[in-house]
C-alpha cells in the first residue's frame, strides 16, 4: 500500500522542481529535521537511525530530505546516500541488494573494466622514470600560496576534532 505511493510522490517532486535530485538515503543516527539548514532553526521532526529518506537537495553541510510525511533539513553526515541501507554496519544489506536493482540509473556499466587488484600491486616493479616524472611536477610553498589566494582561499584556524569516546563497532567492509 504505502510502497506504491512512494514512486508517485517522487515523480511529483521531480516534476515540481527540475533541479531536485530525489535519491534514496538512510539515516545513520537518531537525528532531527530542521526547518532551515541550520541547527538554530526550528525542529520539524525527529528521525530514528535506519529510517529511509528521499534526498531532495543539498546546501553546504545539510541535506533537505523527506521522511514519511515530514520534510526538513538534516546534517549531511547523518545520512548515507544510496540504496544500501545502513551498509557496512551489518543491518539492511539484504534490502540494499534488492533495491539497487530498482534504481538502474545508479548502475554504471563497467563490463570490460578491471580495477587494480592485489596481484597487480604485488607484482609491481619499481619504475624510476615515472617516479622522476611525478617528482618533476613539484611546486613550491610560495606557488601553492599564490594559487590559493587567486581563488580567495586563506588559512583558517579550525581546532582538531576529538577522538570518539567509544570504539568503532562496525565491521570491515570486506567481511560483508
Amino acid at each position: 500500500m504505502k510502497i506504491s505511493l512512494i514512486p508517485v510522490a517522487v515523480l511529483m517532486l521531480c516534476a515540481a522542481s527540475a533541479s531536485a535530485w530525489a535519491a534514496p538515503g538512510t539515516v545513520l543516527r537518531a537525528e532531527k529535521l530542521y526547518s532551515q539548514p541550520a541547527a538554530t532553526s526550528k525542529v520539524t521532526a525527529s528521525v530514528p537511525k535506519g529510517a529511509r529518506v528521499e534526498i531532495l537537495s543539498k546546501q553546504g553541510g545539510w541535506l533537505r530530505v523527506q521522511s514519511g510525511k515530514s520534510t526538513g533539513w538534516i546534517r549531511l553526515l547523518s545520512v548515507r546516500a544510496g540504496a544500501g541501507g545502513l551498509g557496512g554496519t551489518g543491518v539492511g544489506d539484504v534490502v540494499g541488494a534488492a533495491t539497487t536493482k530498482s534504481n538502474p540509473s545508479r548502475v554504471v556499466a563497467v563490463a570490460g573494466l578491471r580495477g587494480l587488484n592485489d596481484e597487480d600491486l604485488k607484482q609491481a616493479k619499481f619504475n624510476g622514470d615515472e617516479l622522476a616524472r611525478m617528482e618533476g611536477h613539484n611546486v613550491t610553498a610560495a606557488q601553492a600560496r599564490s594559487f590559493a589566494s587567486k581563488a580567495g582561499l586563506a588559512a583558517v584556524n579550525v581546532p582538531e576534532l576529538p577522538k570518539p569516546k567509544t570504539a568503532q563497532s562496525s565491521s570491515t567492509w570486506e567481511s560483508n
Partner: protein, 309 residues
C-alpha cells in the same frame, strides 16, 4: 593474520601491565641484539643479561656499542628520520607507479600538486617534500606513501565536482602521512632497525634495503590499514581541508557519492577491501563532527576545477 599481528602489537604497546611490558621489552632487546651481532660480528653481545630498560634506551648502553645501540634505539622508539621516511616512500611510490603509470596530462598533474601542497601547508608537516599524482586507471581509489607521496586515480578524479572535493580526498591521504600510519604498520610487522647507508644508489634505482622492508612490490598498498586509521584520516583530513579555506564538506560528499555506487562495482573492489564502507565512514565522521564545523564557511571553488578532457 597480518592484521591480528598488528592488533597484537598495538595492544602490547598500549597496555602497561608489568608482564606485557617485559615481553615487549624482550622483543626489542632481542632485535637490538640481532642487529648488534650483525654489525659487530667479532664481538659477543652483552645485551642478553641487560634488563629491558637498557634495550629501550633509558640507560646508557656500554661504550663499545654506543653508536649502533643509540641509532637503533632512536629508530625503534622515536621513528624514522624524514630522510629515511622519504626513502621508504619513494620505493613504495615507485613500485605503485610500476603497477599503474601517471596520467599523461601535465596541466592536471600540476593542478593537483598546487591543491595538494596548499592543503599540506596546513598539515603542520614541513620537513618533507609533498608530491601528488593522478594514476591512469579507471579504478576508484587514492593512496598515500610515507614521505609525502600521494596518489589518486583518474577514476576517482572524474567523479569529483569541485576543488573542495579534491582537497578533501587529498587531505585524507595527507593525514595518513602526518599520522605516519603506514610507518607504524611497517614498524609493528618487522621491528626494522636503521636503514643504514644507501651506498652508491642512484635516484632512479630500486632500493633493495627498503624493498626488503616493505615486502613484494607495492603490496603494502593492497593490505590496507587498520580501520581506525581510516576513520582518523577522515577526522584529521576534514579539518586540514577546512583550515585551507575550503568548505569542509568535500570529503563527505565524495563518500556520499561512493555510497551511492553499486556495491559490486569492480572499480571499487580494492577500495572496499582496504577501507570501511563509506556508510560507516560517514557515520563515524558524523559522530566526530556533530555541530563542530557549523560555523566554518569555506569555498567549494567549482569555477576553476580542472576537468579531464
Amino acid at each position: 593474520m597480518k592484521l591480528k599481528l598488528t592488533l597484537l602489537a598495538a595492544a602490547l604497546a598500549s597496555f602497561s601491565g608489568a608482564a606485557v611490558a617485559f615481553d615487549f621489552g624482550k622483543v626489542l632487546e632481542d632485535r637490538v641484539k640481532q642487529e648488534l651481532e650483525k654489525k659487530t660480528q667479532t664481538q659477543p653481545s652483552q645485551t642478553t643479561e641487560q634488563p629491558p630498560a637498557e634495550a629501550q634506551g633509558t640507560a646508557t648502553p656500554p661504550a663499545k656499542q654506543k653508536i649502533d645501540a643509540r641509532q637503533l634505539g632512536m629508530t625503534l622508539l622515536t621513528g624514522y628520520s624524514p630522510e629515511e621516511e622519504t626513502r621508504i616512500g619513494r620505493q613504495i611510490a615507485g613500485n605503485l607507479l610500476g603497477a599503474v603509470p601517471l596520467l599523461r596530462d601535465d596541466k592536471l598533474q600540476n593542478y593537483v600538486n598546487l591543491v595538494g601542497n596548499w592543503v599540506a601547508l596546513q598539515s603542520g608537516r614541513k620537513d618533507i617534500t609533498w608530491h601528488f599524482g593522478v594514476l591512469d586507471t579507471e579504478d576508484i581509489n587514492a593512496f598515500a606513501a610515507p614521505g609525502g607521496y600521494v596518489f589518486l586515480t583518474k577514476g576517482l578524479y572524474r567523479r569529483l565536482n569541485n576543488e573542495a572535493e579534491l582537497a578533501g580526498v587529498l587531505a585524507h591521504e595527507i593525514a595518513h602521512v602526518t599520522k605516519k600510519h603506514h610507518l607504524k604498520v611497517l614498524k609493528q610487522s618487522s621491528l626494522i632497525g636503521a636503514l643504514g647507508q644507501a651506498a652508491g644508489k642512484k635516484a632512479k634505482d630500486s632500493d633493495p634495503v627498503v624493498q626488503n622492508l616493505i615486502g613484494n612490490g607495492a603490496e603494502i598498498m593492497a593490505r590496507g590499514l587498520d580501520k581506525n586509521a581510516e576513520y582518523e584520516a577522515d577526522r584529521v583530513g576534514i579539518v586540514f581541508a577546512a583550515r585551507s579555506g575550503y568548505e569542509p564538506w568535500g570529503l563527505p560528499e565524495v563518500l556520499q557519492d561512493l555510497a551511492g555506487l553499486p556495491d559490486k562495482d569492480s572499480r571499487t573492489s580494492l577500495l572496499y577491501k582496504t577501507h570501511p564502507h563509506p556508510a560507516d565512514r560517514l557515520a563515524a565522521l558524523g559522530e566526530a563532527v556533530d555541530g563542530r564545523l557549523d560555523a566554518v564557511g569555506g569555498k567549494d571553488v567549482a569555477s576553476r576545477f580542472y576537468r579531464i578532457k
